[in-house]
Structure formats: C-alpha cells, structure tokens
C-alpha cells in the first residue's frame, strides 16, 4: 500500500494511472446521473408546498455540497503540499479550484432561479447566500493568484496559504442557517437527526450527489494531467509522449 502511494506521488505514474482511471469513473458518473435524473424528474413525488419547483434541488444541493467539499479537498491538498512539498498535492489543489468555482457558481445560479418563484426574489443578502458568494470569490482569488505568479511552485505555496485562510468560511456557510435567521431553509439531510425529507426525494438526491462527486473526480484528474504535462514539459517521459503522439 505504501509502495503504491510512493509510486503515485511520481508525476509520470500518476499521469498514466489517472488516464486509465478516468473512463471508468466517467461511466460510473454517467450511470448515477441518468438514474438520478430519471428518479428525480419522473419518479419523485411533487412537493406539497413547493410543487414541482423543488426539483431544482437535485442539481442545486449536490452543487452546493460539492462547492464546500472541493474547497476542503483543495485546502487539504494545499496544506499537504506546503508541509511535505509533494508536487502532486500542489497539482491536485490547483486542479480542484476551477471545478470548485464552477460548482459554486452553479449552486448560486440555481439557487437564484429557485428563489424567484419561492421567495419572490432572485437574490437576498441572507447569511447562507452571502457566505456562498464569498466562497466563489475565494475560489476566483485562488485561481487569479496562481495565474499571477510565474514560478508554479511559488504560486502553489501562495495559493495554498490563501486557500487555508479561506477555510474559516466553510463552517460559516454550513451553520449560517442555524446561527442567523435566514430566508434560506435549514438543513434537511446533513444534521444529526434522521433526514426530514421524504425517502423518495432523498434517493434521487443522494444519487445525484454521488454523480457530482464522480464528475469532480473525472474533471480533477483530467485537469491534473494537463497541469503535470505543463510542469514536466522538460522531462524525458513527456518528450517521449509528445514524440509518440505527433
């Protein structure tokens, strides 16, 4: 097992291994997504208060969960990169930033579209919405900072520190609906009691959540492969790869 991790930390092996893993993850992601969509759009019952508008939940909630999950992965990988100087951790951290930003954007936009018919407003400055918007700015800050620094190892160190400071926002997002009196509803799944959501709505929600997680895995590996190509452009194995592909 330790040998496996040691091997994986080498960019060349990681590049090849990720290349083999991606198609399998993609197939699994597509499977979960199709079943989740079918279940969520056709089989799940209509909500007694919100009608069919609640079906936005099946993209909104997984996107919002992933926006926080990816941030923690990014900050965690960044910390590992800072402490042990593992190149691959730096690569994973920056590769997560773009996907995370896009999921945060998706959570905000679908939330806005859901808010209009339910609350009567596209946007309100409530604690949940505002802290999620700050999360988007944190992601954009990480990406901008990484691109602004020419030397990628220095850039990775700087962005990791920024990402770690931003972690303070994650519990704020999660508990915002409890700490403040928000228009946004409280949690129905991620709490200590049993989920207060109908099982027929919970199943498609969880299926979509798994699909989104697998999607992130696919994209982060694809991005990491690009990042490795760029960083290792002068090494022998990349040059061999280029010769073989041209």
């Amino acid at each position: 097992m330790l040998k496996f991790f040691h091997k994986m930390a080498s960019p060349k092996y990681f590049y090849q291994f990720a290349g083999k893993l991606i198609p399998w993850l993609a197939v699994a992601c597509l499977g979960f997504m199709l079943v989740g969509l079918y279940d969520g759009l056709l089989l799940a019952p209509t909500d007694y208060q919100q009608g069919d508008s609640y079906r936005i939940m099946f993209v909104h909630v997984p996107a919002a969960w992933m926006s926080m999950f990816i941030y923690m992965v990014m900050a965690g990988a960044g910390a590992i990169g800072l402490i042990w100087h593992i190149k691959l951790a730096e690569v994973m951290a920056i590769s997560s930033a773009h996907v995370g930003a896009s999921f945060t954007f998706l959570a905000l936009v679908t939330g806005s579209i859901w808010g209009k018919p339910m609350w009567g407003a596209w946007w309100v400055w409530d604690a949940r919405l505002t802290s999620e918007l700050i999360l988007l700015f944190l992601y954009l800050g990480v990406i901008a900072l990484y691109n602004a620094v020419e030397d990628k190892r220095t850039a990775a160190r700087a962005t990791s520190i920024l990402a770690l400071v931003g972690v303070v926002n994650i519990p704020i997002i999660h508990y915002s609906v409890e700490w403040w009196n928000t228009l946004h509803q409280g949690p129905t799944v991620t709490k200590f009691d049993a989920p207060s959501i109908d099982i027929d709505m919970l199943i498609p929600l969880l299926l979509m959540a798994v699909a989104f997680k697998l999607f992130y895995a696919v994209v982060v590996l694809m991005r990491a492969r690009c990042e490795i190509l760029q960083r290792e452009r002068n090494s022998g194995w990349v040059r061999d790869l280029v010769k073989a592909s041209s």
Binding site: L41, L42, T46, G51, D52, S53, R55, I56, V59, H60, A63, H98, V99, S102, F103, F105, L106, V109, T110, I113, W114, K116, P117, F215, V218, V219, M222, R223, R225, C226, L229, Q230, R233, V238, R239, V242, K243, S245, S246
Partner: protein, 53 residues
Amino acid sequence: MKEFFHMGGYGFYVWTSYGIALLVLLANLLSPILLKKKLLSELARREKRARRS
C-alpha cells in the same frame, strides 16, 4: 409528456436550472480536453524546432 415539461407551472425555472447545470458540466469537461490538445501541439512544435537546430 406535456405535463412533464410544464412542471406544474414551474417549467421555466426547472428547465433553466437543468440547462445551466448541463452547460457548466460540459464546460468542465471540454476545457481540460482542449487544454491538453493545445499543450501537446505546443510541445510537439517545440520538439520539432529542437530537432532542426
């Protein structure tokens, strides 16, 4: 079928959300594919130049 697209009167909101979700997912998939293509052709050009000189 018509009922399905109507979504109890919320069709516009539901389908706009799913449409944007689809666009975001597609953009996420396309951008690394294009980036890899660009990188490989860049590196291939560099390799050619190196061989000539």
